[in-house]
Amino acid sequence: METAQQLDKNVLGANDLPKGTVNEEQGSMTQDTPYPKETVGRPFVDDPKMRLRDVEVFYDDNQAIHGVSLDIGKNEVVSLIGPSGCGKSTFLRCLNRMNDTIDICKVKGSLHLESQDLYDPKLDVVELRARVGMVFQKPNPFPKSIYDNVAYGPRIHGLANKKYDLDEIVETSLRKAGLWEEVKDRLHAPGTGLSGGQQQRLCIARTIAVSPEVVLMDEPCSALDPIATAKIEELISELSESYTIAIVTHSMQQAARVSHRTAYFHLGRLVEMNDTETVFTKPEHDLTEAYITGRFG
């Protein structure tokens, strides 16, 4: 039987493996720990919002994601964790076709948002990104007013015909993002004049203004201080009542705090996906254990 580890050596070459993980010569703790043939834990749910099967991503000839299959449940918060370069951001970006912007990037597999095939050539990507919104690592408000930042999406998608409707969308979105009280008196001041944490909440308000079904977050708090981080985390749990959320984070504590299920990626494979509590108290796979406890990184 060809193990996933051997497969990996064929693809990457033994020298490309990170130190202390699976390199046999080193005799390290995980030397006898091949990648599981299948993801361990509970990667699937009964009623998935997003159903992702055998996802593979290539940058030219380099394979970045190897056969990842998982579900994201409705109103669920899923966090993706793993060492740098493990493919978690690449995977997240497949979910609203952000990878389309990279020419050399090819995505294979079956990716569905409910019954919609995400990679259907007839699908309007702009439409898709209204249904699956994204918040990035660095807050990136448009160089416009706070109001226009939030109103931008609803305007281009034609969600509001009258000024009154637009005002209401802006207020609701800012309220949901927990920013309304702080900015209601200066809606026409530039968005870039807000603090980092406020800017990030503005970006979240902008994302939810178009009523997406899924919100993807790529390390949304890594540029924020602990107070701003706590606000965003609080927001995530509130937002999960209306939206489905997938979040990539480098902070394991954050994954532990905000998510229902946690997926651990390693060298482009999904090693384990389990209830967050299980992952952080009794992970099933040795690689997860080693990463969670900081035995390699």
Partner: protein
């Protein structure tokens, strides 16, 4: 089960902190084990000097308990341990209170030994004390051994032993009660033996508790408050 990789942490300081906690726990375990052995000997041989020594050791045990608790608190606050590290901290901080209680029970036995040395020996019960004492002492040794080696199987045998100790204790109690009814003049002295047996039985319970913490540490499963069969079942599943 080789999931316990303490000492391979990428942070040296974290390694050292965990190592130090484990070493202190083992030191405390050794101290308490010696207390139990000495207390039994003091009682059986009416050795007052040894009994005094056992009582004095309590102070050292208490200090170690506080030291280990402080170390655990520090690791929780500074390192936010997860998975096996987290389970180690939880298991250790629970095990130290059991060890401290075992120390208390040993001191109780030593006090009974002092009284018996003063008031004269009990006419009955020494055989039972020796027998149950040895049994409990082996349990304590095994449970500490299981902790040191992360051996869940051995920890499970300690729980099974505890059931036997409970039965031996009940049977000893019946025969001593019968004896007291036959010879009421000996009641005071026999009662000292009964309290000692009771202390030994409690030590057995604490050893079992520590064994359950070892199982939680190694397997991540909570096996408290269930029967041995259920424990075995849970460990299989």
């Amino acid at each position: 089960m080789d999931r316990m990789h303490f000492g391979e942490h990428s942070s040296t300081q974290f390694n050292e902190a965990l190592e130090s906690i484990r070493n202190h726990l083992m030191e405390m375990g050794g101290l308490v084990e010696k207390q139990v052995v000495d207390a039994l000997q003091a009682l059986l041989q009416a050795d007052s000097a040894l009994a005094e020594k056992v009582i004095e050791t309590e102070d050292k045990v208490d200090k170690l308990e506080m030291l280990i608790d402080e170390q655990c608190t520090r690791v929780l606050a500074l390192r936010q341990p997860a998975a096996s590290d987290l389970r180690l901290i939880i298991a250790v901080s629970k095990a130290v209170s059991d060890l401290e209680r075992i120390g208390d029970e040993s001191a109780k036995i030593a006090r009974m030994g002092l009284q018996l040395a003063e008031e004269g020996e009990s006419p009955r019960g020494y055989v039972e004390v020796r027998h149950i004492g040895n049994h409990v002492r082996n349990m304590l040794r095994d449970t500490l051994d299981a902790f040191a080696r992360f051996d869940a199987k051995k920890a499970l045998t300690v729980a099974a032993e505890d059931n036997e100790v409970d039965m031996e204790y009940a049977s000893a109690m019946r025969s001593l009660v019968t004896f007291m009814m036959e010879d009421p003049r000996s009641i005071t002295r026999v009662l000292n033996i009964i309290w000692s047996l009771r202390a030994l039985e409690r030590i057995g319970d604490h050893a079992r508790n520590i064994g359950e913490q070892v199982i939680y540490l190694v397997e991540g499963k909570d096996v408290r408050h269930i029967s041995i069969d259920e424990m075995e079942e849970k460990l299989k599943g």
